[in-house]
């Protein structure tokens, strides 16, 4: 009887702590949304008046718009390159011998684990020799290398749940490897590929450290401009931009969740 009481108290404490931690995670993330609609000319929370003035400031600024454009183009191009390259790599590794797979996996996840400041400084010095600093090409190449591990990891885990005999059956019935891959395998791991693509897009869009060194001039990314602006002052325009970035991230997250949900239903 005493034990049951103790267990109830333990459970209560656990719930209180759990809920507190969840709020600690979510509230600061979402707090910029109400702030972005503030009518005051300085940052305040909770806001006392409502207006779209910070959105007007954001969408009316040629500098912010050009940075947004650079970031969106870079993110789209990164996704367009990293998704097929990463998926093919995952397929190749999936079919390789275990030894090759193990060493390649270690190599391929390095961009996630190596401190990004080292990649940034390295890429910056490499680009200085190649004349790629401050170019869109340079940003896209660096972001592609950062995004590849996410695509490879998600597609490989998708392939693990896929019955590879289906592709072998297609090939033994006369389909070429390319046809079998594209018409049998790809549709079945489509969800993993889409998840990888979302991750690649977000990785590029939200990347700060490499962009800070490598992008600039007409090709400054939005994160570079935000970082520099935050160093000086707390411009409420950033709240409006942040809200837009949150909307993009949450949309991507919902996309991934829906994909996962649909996949579970299909099974």
């Amino acid at each position: 009887m005493e034990q049951v009481g103790q267990r109830k108290i333990d459970g209560m404490w656990l719930m209180v702590v759990g809920i507190a931690v969840l709020f600690f995670l979510i509230l600061p993330t979402l707090i910029v949304i109400p702030m972005s609609f503030s009518g005051a000319s300085f940052l305040e929370f909770p806001p006392t008046s409502f207006s779209f003035r910070w959105y007007a400031a954001y969408f009316g600024s040629p500098e912010w718009m050009s940075a947004t454009q650079t970031s969106l183009i870079a993110a789209l191009m990164t996704t367009a390159i990293a998704t097929p390259l990463g998926s093919l790599c995952a397929y190749g590794l999936h079919c390789s011998t275990p030894q090759i797979r193990a060493s390649a996996q270690a190599l391929v996840i390095m961009p996630i684990i190596v401190p990004v400041i080292l990649i940034a400084v390295g890429v910056f010095s490499l680009y200085a020799k190649l004349g790629l600093n401050y170019t869109l090409t340079g940003i896209v190449i660096a972001h592609t290398a950062l995004a590849l591990p996410f695509v490879i990891v998600t597609v490989m885990s998708g392939l693990q749940n896929y019955d590879f005999d289906q592709e072998l059956a297609a090939r033994s019935l006369g389909a070429s490897r390319a046809v079998a891959l594209l018409t049998i395998t790809v549709p079945q791991v489509k969800f993993s590929i889409q998840t990888g693509a979302f991750l690649a897009f977000i990785t590029s869009l939200d990347e700060v450290v490499i962009s800070m060194l490598v992008s600039g001039g007409d090709n400054a990314t939005i994160t570079r401009r935000m970082f520099n602006s935050l160093r000086d002052q707390l411009d409420p325009t950033i709240a409006a931009i942040s809200t837009c970035l949150i909307v993009v991230s949450v949309t991507a997250l919902i996309g991934v969740q829906l994909i996962g949900h649909r996949k579970n239903i299909d099974k």
Binding site: L25, I26, P28, S96, I100, I119, L205, L230
Partner: protein, 300 residues
């Protein structure tokens, strides 16, 4: 009879050699498919870092020397940077464990659907830009921010606390960014624990607390360890949040490397710092691989 057997043997041999060349072709094809991605990573990540590392072995005059490394140990400034980096990384990791473990344990005991819904509270921050979250903390922690003003109206404090632009701010912000990295592997591990074992322990006379510490907790350790290593590595090399929330008063390794290059153009010193940071990270990964297995990252 003999003849037939001979030709059969030859046939087998021929088949074997065809199979072998087929297998070789297959291997080359597969390697070819993986190559573009692997090359991209090698050229963008590995090549510049190797080149950068080599710079650390040359002194200002361009001669081979270990001067840059000697200075790391001699200079009080660099020593302080290392001390601060380790202090912050350890503090952040410890706080993340104390916040993350109870949350994961609570979530793992809830029904699947409820837990999945509550995980959104973890995933939304995880997917939200680090810059956006750092900005939010800058606003929350500022002198006339909501935390100071509510503490003052509650009468807890008289004067606003200095929360941002210092060590406190950096640690609070970093914990917020790092916590999901601890939660995700830990929660996945807890979900896979067979709770019947805990029930069996209780059934055999263990107290619920005893069953937790002797049965559940040890089984959750691999996930906890993976989370700890992940948070610690990422903290060691973290740039954005301490740079903004530290307000220039907190200099961690990554900021020191950046300023050594962009302000002082001292590539030799910066790359020596970089090599040390890289070695620390690789050591942690090696450790993680021994205990947890990097393979698990590739499975669900």
């Amino acid at each position: 009879m003999n003849l037939a057997e001979d030709s059969k043997g030859a046939q087998t041999l021929q088949n074997a050699s065809t199979l072998k060349s087929e297998e070789y072709r297959e291997r080359v094809t597969l390697l070819g498919l993986s190559l573009p991605a692997v090359l991209a990573i090698l050229i963008v990540v590995f090549l510049p870092i190797f080149w950068l590392s080599s710079l650390s072995f040359y002194n200002a005059a361009g001669a081979l020397s270990l001067e840059n490394y000697a200075r790391i140990f001699e200079s009080a400034l660099y020593r302080r940077t290392f001390v601060v980096t380790f202090q912050i990384s350890i503090a952040v990791t410890v706080i993340c464990v104390f916040l993350g473990y109870p949350l994961c344990y609570w979530l793992s005991k809830l029904p699947d659907r409820t837990a999945a819904m509550l995980m959104v509270f973890v995933l939304v921050p995880f997917w939200t830009s680090v810059l956006v979250r750092t900005y939010a903390w800058l606003v929350l922690l500022q002198r006339n921010g909501v935390i100071n003003s509510s503490l003052m109206s509650l009468g807890v404090i008289e004067e606003p606390l200095q929360l941002a632009h210092n060590l406190t701010g950096s640690i609070i912000g970093m914990v917020h960014i790092m916590l999901p990295f601890l939660i995700l592997p830990l929660y996945a591990t807890m979900r896979s624990i067979d709770t019947d074992l805990v029930r069996a322990a209780v059934g055999l006379g263990s107290s619920p607390r005893g069953a937790f510490w002797r049965v559940f907790f040890p089984m959750s350790l691999p996930g906890l360890f993976a989370g700890i290593v992940l948070v610690f590595i990422l903290s060691l090399g973290f740039y954005v949040t301490p740079a903004l929330l530290g307000g220039g008063r907190v200099q961690m390794l990554a900021q020191r490397i950046e300023s050594t290059i962009t302000v002082y153009s001292n590539w030799g010193a910066a790359s020596a710092l970089g090599v040390v940071l890289l070695l620390l990270a690789l050591m942690m990964i090696w450790l993680m691989n021994r205990v947890f297995g990097l393979d698990k990252l590739f499975m669900r």
